[in-house]
């Protein structure tokens, strides 16, 4: 193993240890709550989101014709990732009646426009591919 790799592994371990000490400094109650959220994030990704994406991929290879596959996958990645990112604003969970300047956009309408544009682009691309006889 090269010197660079050893240095990186040792340095990373030290940085991580700083984090562990900082986390524990928050007291047992905060630490436990944080650990539940840390483990929960991995669990939700590995056992809910990822299998769902794999299942969608399998479904797409069976249902979507060859000429539509690339546009469908690209649209799903863009729309899925951006929608997940936008969950806190789409749900407006942090909105407060005393502060009308927070979360003050029409988020659902914005999402519909965004989704429409992404799907429109994907359909356009699929049509071009269909006319061109498919393939990459």
């Amino acid at each position: 193993m090269s010197v660079v790799r050893v240095v990186l592994i040792v340095l990373g371990t030290i940085l991580g240890a700083v984090g562990a000490v900082e986390l524990l400094a928050g007291g047992p109650r905060d630490t436990l709550a944080a650990v539940v959220w840390l483990a929960g994030g991995v669990a939700v990704h590995d056992f809910v989101l990822a299998p769902l994406v794999v299942a969608l991929g399998v479904l797409a290879t069976r249902l979507v014709p060859a000429w539509g596959r690339s546009p469908a996958v690209a649209a799903a990645v863009v729309l899925g990732a951006v929608t997940l990112m936008a969950v806190p604003v789409l749900g407006r969970f942090g909105a407060r009646p005393d502060n009308p300047t927070l979360l003050d956009r029409p988020y659902i309408a914005g999402w519909l426009v965004f989704a429409g544009l992404v799907l429109g682009c994907a359909f356009g691309w699929a049509l071009v591919r269909l006319r061109g006889g498919g393939g990459e």
């Binding site: 990373g12 990112m85 969950v87 426009v113």
Partner: protein, 388 residues
Amino acid sequence: MPELRLSVPREEDFSSRLRGPEVASRVGLWLGICFAVAFLTGLYSHLAQAAYPVLPLPVRPAWLYRVTQGVHVAAGTAAVPLLLVKLWTVYPKLFVRPPRQRRALLLHGLERGSLGVLVAGAVFQLATGLANASQWYPWTFSFRATHYAVAWLTIGALVVHIGVKLPAITRGLRTDVDDISRDVPGPAASPGLSRRGVLRTTWVAAGLAVLTTAGSSVPLLRRVSVFGVRSGDGPMGVPVNKSARAAGVTASALAVDYALTLSTGDEVRRLSRAELEQLPQRTAVLPIACVEGWSATGTWTGVRVRDLVTLVGGSPDHAVLVTSLQESGPFRQTRLPAGFVADEDTLLALRLDGEPLSVDHGYPCRLIAPNRPGVMQTKWVASLAVET
């Protein structure tokens, strides 16, 4: 159709030819850059919120914190699609069966452990950061302390991961993305997206994530940022982070007998708002940049803090303790370091955009200084105490 059976899959069961080190290393590189940028800007923000910062903080340029915190949130936002694609490329590795041999098993376990910390930390940082930007707190731990601690944990696990994977990363980056000889053999050699196509899609997703949210800090993007936490509108054209009602100060802020308490040691003076209006006024164009990432520019008018300090015989070379009318809250009291006190544009503002401050913007008076996190631009100021 093959017979369906329920069992834990093996690595070889995942047939997409798009997974693998060519895509993983390229997406990982940008993901690593985003995390490094978010870590450094986050450290700066943490430092800027300390009452006694370990390093002297720059007072100028006035827009520095606005930029670093906007970049912090943008880097985290761009990382969402990058992290999702990165995890997708390596997901089959989750099902690698551990080796039998003891030494190999130990190394395998250590690598898995560091990866577990990395994935948990990365998902945690993005999820809590995005929720915090919209002031959504579905957890019981302290956001600031925990987001800070997990940042160190995550960046540490990331550096270990780079150390462990360095040969694979350099090999992946040097290989032509679309070299078909690198394809994972399998039945899925279908006419879908190419590896280059996956990369392009990922960059587009990351770019759109930033574009649709950054309007909260970049006025030019306001109209396209359909998922921005704030439109930028508000009383006098500036949004409000915490309302007077939420802070529980409405009555005390609007009280007719309000007076600001100024003090240096034993020397104490009380000034009503009318008396503050009588003092020489200064107008400064300064940003208000919130820790949650949004920012806006305001034209503030009020009395220079250094003038108020000299009024009670204090020196602008000393720090000032600023206390709000708020009765509780972590930022009820903030410390304005000497460098900020001395600055010409550090004001006890009475007006915004020429109008008296609205109560949600801090009436009767608020602190506004260059290059300071929004939470430390104390509203509803009750007293200024010069440190001696």
